[in-house]
Structures are given as C-alpha cells and as structure tokens.
C-alpha cells in the first residue's frame, strides 16, 4: 500500500493529487477550495482534502512529490538575467522577491504546511511531470509523448518515448523559444489576461482569416528539423516584468486591442484583431503538427500522448490528429500546470519505485463529492424549498426542463479534474434552440459573446453530428478536441456550432459519467438528439463551483432557471428563500 501525493504550485493553477498503488484516487486544483481563480499558492487545502479523502493522516503518506526542480528553474532565471543585463532590472527585482522568500524553500514550506518530514519530499522535472501525466493516464503500453507549454525549468517543449521501461527523453527545446509564451504574448496583445484568456484568442480566431500568418512566422519560426525558434527581438517576456511584447511587435501588428473592448465582427477593426488571432492560431497549429511529425519520425510509434498548456488548444489537437501522422491521441484532462501534480506522483510510482502500470484514466470526477444527506441538511438550514427526486424521476424531470428551454445547473458526484466542466458541475441547456447561446451569455455567464459553448453528446451518436478524425475517441471525453460539425449537426445544434462550423466536442460514456450519460440518453429519447449544450458551472472570473453552497451562491447570482443538486430540484430561487434577520 503506497500513497504518493503529487503537488504542482507557485506558478499558476496549483493542484494536489493522490496516487494509491499507481491509481489516481483524488485530485483537485487549489482554486476549487480557495475559490481564487488560478490560485498559484501551495495547494494546502487541496492536499488536505486528498489526504482526508483516502482516510489518511499526513504521516501515512509514503512520498510527496513536487512537480519540478526549483533550483534548476532558479538557475535558468539567473542565467537569463545575466543575458538580459541591464534591461531586466525590474523583472529581476520582482522575481527575486518571490524566489528568495518563497520558491527557494519549497521543501521546507511543503513539509511545514502538510506536516510531513522533509525527507519524504521528492522532486520531479516540469516536462517529465507533464509527460508522465499524459502517458501513465493513457491506455497505451507504448507511445510517443509530446509536452508543450510556456516554460518549465529550461525546457518549453519535450519529446519523449513512453514504454514499459519508462519515459525516455529524446529532445527538448529551451527558453526563450516557447510556443506557449508566444501564444500568451498575443493573448495580452488582444486585450486578454495571460494564463486565462488563451481560450478567448482561440474563440476569436474563428471570426478571422490568417492574413498575418507570414508576420507571425517572422516571430515563431519552424525549422527544417521540425523544431522551432522565436525571434526575441519582437517580444519582451524574457526581460520585462510588465510587458510581453515590445515596440517592434506593435510596429508589425498595429496598436494592441484595449482590454474589455466590445467585439463586433462587423467592425473592420475587430475583424483585424480576429485575423491576428487566426494567424497566431494557424502558426501554433503548424508548429505543434511539425513537432508531432518529428516525434513520429523519431519513434515510429502509432500513438501519441500530449500534455502542457498548449495541449489544451483543441483546434491544434484536431490538426495533430489529422496531420501529425499518429493513429490515436490522448491528452491529459488537466494538461496545464495543474496536471503536473498527477504526473509527478505517477512518475514517482513508476520510475522511482518501479511500480506496476497504472490503469487508464476514465472518469473525470476525481474531486470532492457530497451526499444527498449533507445537501438536504444544507437546503433545510437555508430554508430553501426543494423537491427530492429519486433516480430516473430526477433524470426525467431534468430532461423535461431542458426540452422546455430551461437553463439548468447540474451538480452531480465528485467535481471534475481539469479546467473543463464534464457533466459533474455544468450548466446545461438545449443545444437545438436558436439563440440559446446568446441567452446563456446574457443571463447566466456574462462572458464575451464570441466564445462558443460546447456540445455534450452521448457516446455512439457523435458521428451523426461531428466529423471526427480517426483516433479522436480518447480526446473527446475530455473536451479537448475541436472538430467540424456535420450538415446534420449544423442543422440540429445551432447553439453549439461556432461561427466557423466547428464545435468543441464532449463525448459522454456511461463508464465515465453514468448520471450525465443517463440524462443525455433520456433527452435523446425524448427529442431525437442525445446532445446538450454544456458550459462550466461558474461565473466569469470565478472558479467552477465545488460545493453545494458554491452552487447555490452561483444559482442566486444568475438567472438559471433550475438547479439539480444531487437528487434535489430547486427552482425559482429568489421566491423560495425565506430568511428573517
């Protein structure tokens, strides 16, 4: 009985994950507990929950594994400051304050915060953690592994071969040459928050044409060997604490978009920004495909695993499957830094301890769950009128509500691992209704109107609505692939079909999410289309809800029509509250 706690922290999206004899038994981002979006602090709350979930005390843990090597990262930072002298003084001041007070003392801080001896703390390597998160959670015995993100210690990209012998590192690309950082430069240029607004760039790209691809290729250049480099004379992320691009970049692309500026596709200036978004998206796809092809050439393997923040780019993932030369693709559901927690723990189990191969990850619900008893007590204490519905009655009623055009909050089981809502903490609606996306944006999500909503489809029915390439069956359950919509899908699912005729497909199987699959099945029986519009159960700028109380608070703040909290149906919230001061 070996318990290993994996930790990723101190950059963005910190997380903890518990692995028991090679099986991931609990995992959560810290933001779900702290309620601070992208919380980067040591994931003390998530770690404590993981430990308690397994019925353990901290001293029962065999190892705690941190997802990277802090001293190696510090070395890269110092080397970079030496190279950028003297223009990096502000960046040096800012980074040293954090490093000297916090990041250099990870071992002691973790030991103190979790109550474990420092001798039990191990350190993986950033891209190795990503690679392990992808390979050891995949069903493949042997696979090529590609990791692409902003930056780890030195590496920004890693090529690996995964086999029974473990993960063999074939090659790396080092900072400052980074696809992830270049994508973030454009995210900032287009008026979005870095490490948060990258999805918005992807959404905006669909409204544009890649007219500026040649200009982007001046900055991010694909080399003949399949690798890439960055012309750093256009960017500032390697020396500036404030800016990620410089005046030369602005001369090339024009004035940056003002944060929060409205986006009207009919406005030529807005279209120009969409063209820039489309261009960086196209070059990113080419770069990742080029890396995949090189990896295929080097390994000769048929299957590919991916992780790292860039692997959350579902449009690029589609291109990798179509053009990368691999037969199947698996992407870790929490492909960003949070996933490093799972990867670090699995790496230690397999490669430090020599443990048996982990089972493939199937269910997304690795987070905390609440019993109906707990929820019922809460609803009673809050004087909220609610209707208990058992089993199929609850499913039938929810399917009816959605078919009636209601927007429902859906809270079932443990919350999802990763940034996507996969039918455990979701807002659901009828994808067949014209204007439903606009209604959700206006009444519930309050987010940018150019961002599309995803369709959840019952496993087995996907080919009717979406043109999925072969090998997509392992990626779509995690909503990490954007694929073209078929003519039928275009007709039947207007609320989830993006402006360019694509959709971020979520295939739901009975094994992965039984309750949600039953709802899709029931809705399909009633309507003929086992598909629902699925978006995360949160408000703009907030983490996805974790607890019933979070769900109730979000329900109150929005115009959601109905909330399904476990087996309880709550309607028309405001009129049913009866609180006396």
């Amino acid at each position: 009985m070996t318990y290993i706690l994996g930790i990723s922290a101190l950059y963005h999206d910190s997380a903890a994950a518990l692995v028991h004899d090679g099986t991931v038994v609990a995992a959560s981002s810290e933001e779900r507990f702290s309620r601070i979006k992208h919380d980067a602090s040591l994931p003390v709350l998530a770690a404590r929950w993981c430990i308690a979930q397994a019925g353990l005390a901290p001293q029962d843990l065999d190892y705690v594994v941190y997802y990277e090597k802090p001293l190696r990262k510090f070395e890269r930072l110092m080397l970079n400051h030496v190279r950028q002298f003297p223009r990096g003084v502000a960046s040096f001041r800012r980074s040293m304050k954090v490093w000297l007070t916090e990041k250099l003392w990870v071992r002691d801080n973790l030991a103190n915060a979790l109550g474990v001896p420092a001798s039990k703390i191990l350190f993986s390597d950033h891209h190795l953690s990503h690679a392990a998160s992808a390979f050891y959670c995949s069903p493949f015995e042997e696979a090529a592994v590609l990791t692409v993100d902003g930056v780890g210690e030195h590496a920004t990209t890693g090529l690996f071969r995964g086999s029974r012998a473990g993960l063999e590192r074939l090659a790396e690309i080092h900072f400052p040459h980074s696809i992830g950082l270049i994508y973030s430069v454009f995210t900032s240029f287009l008026g979005f928050q870095v490490n948060d607004g990258e999805y918005k760039v992807m959404g905006m790209a669909a409204y544009g044409q890649p007219r500026y691809k040649d200009k982007v290729e001046r900055i991010l250049r694909i080399r003949s060997d399949g690798s890439f480099d960055v012309d750093t004379s256009y960017v500032a992320y390697h020396y500036s604490a404030e800016e990620s691009y410089n005046r030369r970049f602005v001369e090339l692309f024009g004035e940056p978009r003002k944060p929060g500026a409205p986006f009207d596709p009919a406005d030529p200036r807005a279209r120009n920004y969409a063209d820039i978004a489309a261009s960086v998206q196209a070059v990113t796809e080419d770069c990742v495909v080029s890396l995949a092809r090189e990896l295929r050439r080097r390994t000769g393997l048929d299957d590919l695993c991916m992780a790292g923040g860039v692997a959350l780019n579902g449009v690029a993932n589609y291109q990798v499957l179509r053009r990368g030369g691999f037969r199947r693709l698996f992407v870790h559901p929490a492909a960003g830094d949070a996933g490093g927690a799972v990867g670090a723990a699995l790496w230690a189990w397999h490669e430090v301890l020599g443990g048996a191969r982990s089972p493939a990850l199937v269910s997304p619900g690795l987070g905390q769950s609440w019993s109906d008893g707990q929820t019922s007590q809460l609803l009673r204490d809050l004087h909220l009128r609610h209707t208990p519905l058992e089993g199929d009655a609850m499913i039938d009623r929810a399917a009816e509500d959605v078919a009636d055009g209601k927007i429902i909050g859906w809270f079932q089981g443990g919350f999802e691992w990763g940034p996507r809502a996969l039918g455990h903490r979701s807002i659901l609606a009828d994808a067949r209704q014209h204007g439903m996306n606009a209604r959700i944006n206006a009444k519930v999500k309050f987010r940018e109107p150019f961002r599309p909503f995803a369709p959840s489809v019952l496993a087995g029915a996907e080919q009717r609505y979406f043109s999925l390439p072969d090998g997509a069956d392992l990626t779509c359950p995690w909503m990490l692939l954007v694929a073209p919509v078929t003519d039928c899908g275009h007709d039947r699912l207007p609320a989830t079909t993006h402006v360019d005729g694509s959709a971020r497909v979520h295939i739901v199987s009975r094994d992965a999410s039984p309750v949600y699959a039953r709802l899709l099945e029931r809705f399909g029986e009633a309507s003929g289309d086992p598909v629902l519009l699925n978006t995360s159960f949160n408000l703009k700028g907030e983490p996805i809800v974790a607890s019933p109380l979070d769900a109730l608070a979000t329900f109150e703040k929005t115009d959601l029509d109905v909330l399904y909290l476990g087996s309880f149906r709550i309607e028309n919230f405001a009129s049913r509250r009866n609180v006396h001061a």
Binding site: S34, R35, I36, H38, S41, V44, V65, K69, P70, L71, R72, E75, M78, L79, V82, R83, F85, P86, V89, F92, R93, M96, K97, V106, R107, I121, L122, F123, S124, D125, L128, A155, G166, A171, I173, H174, Q193, D225, S227, F228, D229, T232, K258, W347, A348, E351, V352, L378, R380, D381, L382, G541, S547, L549, L552, A553, K557, R577, V579, A581
Partner: protein, 252 residues
C-alpha cells in the same frame, strides 16, 4: 446606538484628499470590490462551518450581499476608469485578495472564536458603513455611485443588526466582558494590520533598493564576462542530464 455613524473629521479630510487624486476613486472602487469579494468568501466559509442551523441562512444572505457589492464596485470601477487599463487589470486580478492580504487560506470563522467573529463583523460593517457614507457624500454629483452606496448601505444595516443582536445575546448571557474584549481586539487588530501593511510596503521598497544594488553590483560583472560566450540554445537540445529518477531527492 447600533448605527452609530459619526465619521471623524480626520477620516473625512483624508477621504476628501484621496478622492481628489485623479483616477483614485476608480482604483478605490476596484479595491473595495476585492475586499467585498474576500468577505463573501469568508461568509460562505462561515455558512459551511457553523454548527448553528439558525445562523446558516443569515451567513448565506450576508455572503450573497457581499458578492453583490463586489460586482457593483467592480462595475463602477470600470465605468469610472475611462481609458485607464490598470483599473480593469486590478479588477480582473484574481490574486489581488491574496497578494494584498485581504484573505488568508484559513477562513475567518476558523481563526476566531464565536464572540470574536461577531465582533469582527459588527466593527468592520460599522466602519464600512461610515466610510461609504463619506464616499457617497464626496461623489454626490455622481448619481449612479450614490445610488450604489445607498443600496450597499441598506444591506449593511442588516449585517450590523444581526451581528449586534448576536453580541447582545452574548452580553445578556453573562459574556459582557468577553464581548468588550473581542470588540477591543478587533479594533486593535485593525490598527495593527494597517501598521503591518505600511511596514510591508516599506520593506518592499527597501528590498527593491537592495535588489537593484545587487543587480548592478553583483550580476553586472558576470553579465559582462559571460556576454561574449553565452547564447541561447536554438532548436532541439538533446537531453544529457542523468535520468531524473536517480536524483529524485534533489531540487536541482
């Protein structure tokens, strides 16, 4: 007695000076937005943690009020900021409540005893109500802002009333001394935290100066020596280090 609103002249003067600084009202609204968001999180945690069923609904309503205030302040900050992108960035900065020490990982309800918790709510809501009255007066030409302050003021009366009622119950139950001590401690901690925040800013300034000296004095010579030879690696780099599993205990 409950709504004892007598803002001091000093507070009025300071607020007047602050609001005269261009762009400051918008930044202040952004700060309030985060403070209210932090309070909302604390009240949600209190709702979850309290063992008293009768308090849960009140804490929950309080949390929802604070959520609403956070949203109102954020919207107003953005509306008042005009072209100042820094205010929007401040509003959208999800780490603000941690980096500015507005909220720690341990919920307030866990840190404080029951009497301290209600004393905290009562004192802070009372001070908040006074502050907002002053700001409302200072912004009397801005109808939207004054209406917002009025709405927030209404909610705060509920928060002040229920926390005061709890404290009164404790006094009636023979805990008057404990209540007085908790109110004193809350006020003391408020002053202490203000001093600590000031000290932290001073410390940051000093460390900034020392780090600048270190940058030019220590890093500079190394930079000049290495400049001729160092280059960033381009393209694929073949990994030559030892397998990570062999030095799993090492941080480097």
């Amino acid at each position: 007695m409950i709504l004892d609103k007598r803002p001091s002249r000093l507070l009025r003067l300071l607020s007047w000076l602050v609001f005269k600084i261009p762009g400051r009202p918008a930044a202040k609204m952004a700060e309030f937005s985060h403070t209210e968001a932090g309070s909302a999180l604390d009240m949600i945690a209190a709702t979850e943690l309290t063992s008293r069923a009768d308090l849960r609904a009140k804490f929950f309503r309080h949390a929802l009020d604070e959520h609403k205030h956070a949203r109102l302040f954020a919207e107003r900050a953005i509306a008042l900021s005009g072209d100042d992108v820094r205010v929007r960035a401040m509003v959208e900065d999800s780490t603000f409540i941690v980096s500015r020490g507005i909220r720690s990982k341990v919920a307030l309800h866990e840190q404080l005893s029951d009497v301290e918790f209600f004393a905290f709510i009562w004192v802070h809501e009372l001070i908040g109500a006074r502050q907002f009255d002053i700001y409302s007066a200072l912004m009397q030409n801005d109808e939207t802002s004054t209406a917002m302050f009025r709405e927030i003021g209404r909610d705060e009366r509920f928060h002040i009333a229920y926390s005061r009622a709890e404290l009164d119950r404790m006094i009636a139950g023979g805990r008057a001394r404990e209540v007085r001590k908790a109110i004193f401690l809350t006020r003391f901690r408020r002053v202490r935290n203000a001093v600590l925040r000031g000290s932290r800013r001073f410390g940051e300034l000093m460390s900034g100066i020392w780090l600048t000296i270190a940058y030019f004095g220590i890093l500079g010579p190394f930079a000049l020596i290495s400049r001729a030879t160092e280059r960033n690696a381009e393209g694929f780099v073949v990994f030559t280090g030892a397998p990570a599993a062999r030095n799993a205990e090492s941080q480097g």
